[in-house]
């Protein structure tokens, strides 16, 4: 196994839980293969989402992929969902082992 580090992008999407199926469909459409999801609580410019109710839940999806794929996903999410849903996205540079897996 190689210990060589490969540069990748981590795209973090924080969004209403109601969007989860559609965001995941977007990831698959862009051929992203590696992501994790967790439930979070927090605040958006639209107000606090304290997760005390089903309609008020928030998820955080972390995707690790090629920078171009991360850009394409972010563009698609912005175009389709940003107007009507609470969505926050940010990018981080990460280095991974076994780069071919992403």
């Amino acid at each position: 196994m190689s210990n060589k580090h490969h540069p990748k992008t981590k795209l973090t999407l924080v969004a209403e839980a109601a969007l989860e199926p559609r965001l995941l469909a977007e990831l698959k459409r862009h051929q992203a293969h590696v992501w994790t999801i967790c439930e979070v609580r927090g605040a958006f410019p639209e107000g606090e989402r304290d997760g005390d109710w089903e309609a008020n839940r928030t998820i955080e999806i972390k995707v690790i992929c090629e920078p171009t794929v991360a850009d394409a996903i972010a563009d698609a999410v912005l175009a389709k969902y940003a107007a009507d849903y609470s969505v926050v996205m940010y990018f981080s540079d990460v280095s991974v082992l076994r780069g071919e897996r992403y």
């Binding site: 304290d50 089903e54 309609a55 849903y85």
Partner: protein, 320 residues
């Protein structure tokens, strides 16, 4: 304690109080999920037991009538909400919540009917299951039409596949229908071994769930202040009006007095679990914050405190 004030209402009040005084009380999400699943299954199972005792075809007129009743609610409520000054898409969105039903409101009414010793159709859970979706779908269609008229829809197509999945295979309809089927197939003998879990502790679990609902409803008070007194008036005026439609339907169907009260309660109740979730998927432009504040912050406590006792009291006037 007043005869009509059920003990579970006090749990709701405790939850509201805890939230208002900013207590750190918070039910773990996993527990809340468990309670929801339990209540839906238990209500379904109880209704299913009764289904095993009678021919299904006899129930067809009832099923059709409650579907029509549910579907008509948003058509009546939307113009009323427009008159109250709501934007078209918000009016239809909120009307969708009233078109659907609140399972917990039904559960409280059911225990009240049983406690009062009123005769009722014990398959009433079937009404809940079939009444959950039609009004919700009609409300969503009205909201989409409103958007189309305002030309602010962005993507104005309804994703029917997503919506059908959300509404028909969402956990509430799935568990209610599943419980009904299991109860009907199992019958009394089959249910006996699980009765100690699903039938006997029902009211205790309901009380715990109402504590959680109280906490969430208490959290809506801020939103109510933002939306003003008009929303409170709407949330209090709609339930008795819709209950009247429910009771009249019950009378036409020749239901027993408890059945009339239950159908009135179902018509008067507003969904705050399934409807907001479906609305977020189908009409994200509709203000679900406003709808939840009205359905859960006003209508739910109204029905709990005043509505259900009122519907029980008036039901005898709607029996033949």
């Amino acid at each position: 304690m007043p005869a009509m004030l059920d003990v579970v209402v006090l749990f709701f009040a405790l939850g509201v109080f805890a939230r208002v005084v900013k207590s750190d009380l918070r039910l773990p999400e996993a527990l809340y999920e468990t309670l929801t699943i339990y209540l839906l299954l238990a209500i379904g199972l109880k209704g299913g037991l009764e289904l095993s005792r009678q021919p299904l075809m006899d129930l067809l007129p009832q099923v059709l009538a409650v579907v029509i009743l549910g579907a008509l609610v948003p058509l009546v409520v939307t113009p009323l909400l427009r008159l109250a000054g709501l934007k078209p898409v918000d009016a239809a969105g909120l009307a969708a919540h009233y078109g659907s039903v609140s399972v917990v409101t039904f559960a409280v009414a059911l225990t009240a009917v049983q406690q009062a010793g009123l005769p009722y159709e014990s398959h009433a859970a079937l009404w809940v299951a079939v009444m959950e979706a039609p009004g919700l779908v009609v409300g969503i269609v009205l909201a989409r039409l409103a958007l189309k008229r305002a030309d602010a829809g962005g993507d104005s197509r309804i994703r029917w596949d997503l919506l059908a999945h959300e509404v028909l295979l969402g956990k509430s309809v799935l568990l209610l229908m599943g419980g009904l089927l299991i109860g009907a197939v199992a019958g009394d003998a089959g249910m006996a071994p699980i009765k100690a879990v699903f039938i006997d502790p029902f009211k205790g679990v309901l009380a715990l769930f109402l504590l959680e609902l109280g906490l969430v409803a208490g959290g809506q008070l801020g939103a109510l202040k933002r939306h003003g007194i008009k929303l409170v008036l709407v949330g209090c005026a709609l339930p008795p009006l819709l209950a009247l439609a429910g009771a009249t339907t019950g009378m036409l169907l020749g239901l027993q007095v408890g059945g009339v009260a239950l159908l009135a309660t179902l018509a008067a109740s507003a969904s705050y679990i399934a409807a907001p979730a479906a609305l977020r998927v189908a009409v994200p432009q509709a203000n679900t914050g406003l709808a939840i504040a009205c359905a859960l912050g006003v209508t739910f406590p109204f029905n709990l405190l005043l509505g259900i006792p009122l519907y029980l009291h008036l039901a005898p006037y709607f029996t033949q």
